[in-house]
Amino acid sequence: MRAIFLSLAAVLALGSAASANTLDSVRKNGFIRCGVSEGQPGFSNPDARGNWTGIDVDYCRAVAVAIFNDPNKVRFVPVSFAERFTALQAGQFDILSHNTTWTMDRDVAQGLEFIGTIFYDGQGFMVRKSLGVNSALKLDGATLCTQTGTTSELNAADFFRAHKLKYKILVYQKESEYIAAYDAGRCDAATTDRSGLAGDRLKLKNPADHILLPDTISKEPLGPAIRQGDQQWGDLCRWTLFALVNAEELGVSSKTADAMLNSTSPEVRRLLGKEGGFGAELGLTNDWAYRIIKRLGNYGEIYERGVGVNTPLKLPRGLNALWNKGGIMYAPPIR
């Protein structure tokens, strides 16, 4: 709440301060301010020493490399689900990279501009194995737990109404409270995005006693967002994301980036800044994408490092595989 009032005050009093040119103010600050979750394994999660990891974090680092050639020129601002949009509006950070679902209302009526999709997700349910439930359709009369400020509340309501099932939903302010309530048995099922559930499951007393139901009840394209009305900043952020995806498609990774500088493929040469002046058009150097990939890897590497099958989350690529590998991850070409 405190942040809401703070930001409200900011909106009221400052009015125009935050709507200036974001790239200029970022350059002047010397770092990017990146709004992230308060701890979502695989997406944005601080370790004991305060180092942030996850794909949402790596995306902000990629933008930092593009501008400052230094992945550490990012200041991470943890913010709750409920406060994230107001905080972005009030100028508390420059990019919101907070596993945020791209929806029409947020895009159109709440003054946000979504950059693209970094993770295709969908809402699911987690239940105790001992409940003997194997489908969301068998949750008639169940009590659900979720967190406030997400699309999950509405999706759950839609799903249960559409299937004429009875339900009760308890909404908690903090992730820790919602997990504690589910773990204590206050509710029969926890519901949020499947990727979130996979992370939440690890925080339970006995993760092995719980399963994710196979049902996916919604479309949740998660991605970074910025304030509406700053085209230049939007372009820079958007094409940073596209560069990561295009690099994977072209086989350019952190390991192969140097060797690929000698590639004869025109697409690779354009991506790495050997041909054309694409970086300059964004206000960057022409080797911007090369620098990002060299330091942080392409989309696939970031995915595997954050949430992939070798991480505790063990999420297979699924929908997030490239469009030519059975998924729907697709980026417009750099040309």
Binding site: I4, V11, F85, Q89, A109, G141, E177, A184
Partner: protein, 391 residues
């Protein structure tokens, strides 16, 4: 004096000057608010954020776990606001009653001549008012109520009460057609008994003899409703809590969210009320107690007839502030998922619509109204009890 004042021009008159400057300050303040409002509307428009109150009519689409008034997912955001408000009122009202009861007991207990009772009450006050309320809310909810067994291993207290981590379940009385007749009979019986008692009391005051009405009151209170029950062929039924599917259904359910919040609010506020009560009792001149003793009144009677009525004059004004804080503190509900006004309206609705300014303004206005109403009621009560000229 009159002539002297007449010689001054009216703008030199201090009384007029005071009014003038106050009006000026008020105008300036109004101008600041108008400017802030205008600025906000402009800033929102520039950032392409919707503004205005039209959203209150839109469909809410989400569910609420405790609804005392009609609400479904198809209801409007405005209706969701009312649901939250009623939940706030419920938890505040119950907690105000409980905290007052506990507070009076502990406050009087601290002055007890019994060493153990006095020390226990001191420990109560010093412990509970020094632990932050949020911790107490979380403790009662997660530390106590959530450690109860699940629905399938529920505790049964006798045949009537079922207790588990989903709440307390008791059989619910279902009012069937004709039940209003029985209720009306009960109300009539109670009113008649009250009148009868008042009359007997006044006769006793006048003549020293109490008319023998003691038998009439139970006869009225039991008799009239019984006749009504018989005439309407018992229009009540009981709905029993039954294990169905995931949890218990039927009966009257008290959620652990409501119970936990009520416990924390009542127990915490009671510590403050106890101190107010103690201060009130100590403010009564010692001669009053001694006089009561000299008249031969026992301790209980002297408390009830002599000390507490006089102490109330000191107790009521700070008590009103405690009630106000309690109502506002109930917004900690959001920590444990109780759907109060802040959780539902300034939480979910704000997040779905993004209209922070409108929603927070409305929420603040509602809390202000609640506080002003509570204040006004307590002031009325205070006026009725205050000494002449001290109201």
């Amino acid at each position: 004096m009159v002539q002297q004042r007449a010689r001054h021009a009216w703008w030199r008159d201090t009384k007029w000057q005071a009014v003038f400057y106050q009006a000026l300050v008020l105008l300036a303040l109004a101008a600041v608010f108008v400017w802030l409002g205008h600025n906000a509307v402009e800033a929102l428009a520039r950032r392409h954020v919707a503004s205005g109150f039209a959203f209150l009519e839109k469909t809410a689409g989400f569910g609420i776990s405790q609804t005392l008034i009609a609400y479904t997912e198809e209801s409007s955001y405005g209706q969701a606001m009312w649901v939250g408000l009623v939940n706030t009122l419920l938890v505040s009202a119950v907690s105000i009653v409980l905290s007052t009861l506990i507070g009076f007991i502990v406050g009087i207990g601290r002055l007890s001549s019994n060493w153990l009772v006095a020390k226990l009450c001191t420990v109560y006050v010093e412990t509970l008012r020094n632990i932050p309320l949020l911790l107490q809310v979380v403790f009662w909810y997660f530390g106590v109520l959530q450690t109860l067994p699940g629905p399938r291993d529920s505790l049964h207290l006798g045949e009537w009460i079922v207790l588990n981590n989903r709440g307390v379940y008791v059989p619910e009385v279902i009012f069937q057609p004709g039940s209003w007749f029985v209720v009306a009979a009960l109300v009539v019986a109670l009113t008649l008994s009250y009148g009868l008692n008042r009359w007997a009391h006044s006769v006793q005051l006048r003549t020293g003899h109490r008319p023998p009405v003691w038998w009439a009151i139970p006869l009225l209170v039991v008799g009239l409703p019984t006749i009504a029950l018989y005439a309407t062929q018992v229009p009540f039924a009981l709905s029993w809590p039954q294990l169905a599917g995931f949890s218990y259904e039927g009966g009257l359910q008290i959620n652990p969210e409501l119970a936990g919040l009520t416990m924390a609010l009542s127990i915490y506020t009671a510590a403050y009320i106890a101190e107010i009560v103690r201060a009130g009792l100590l403010s009564v001149a010692r001669g009053q107690r001694e006089a009561a003793e000299a008249l031969g009144l026992k301790r209980g009677l002297s408390l009830r007839l002599v000390l507490v009525p006089q102490a109330m004059r000191v107790i009521i004004p700070p008590l009103a502030s405690e009630y106000l804080s309690l109502t506002k503190n109930s917004s900690l509900a959001i920590a444990i998922g109780y759907p109060d006004l802040v959780a539902v309206f300034a939480g979910t609705v704000l997040n779905q619509t993004g209209q922070a300014i409108e929603i927070l303004t409305l929420t603040m206005a509602i809390y202000l109204t609640l506080s002003l109403i509570t204040s006004a009621l307590m002031n009325l009560y205070n006026r009725a009890h205050a000494l002449e000229g001290f109201a």
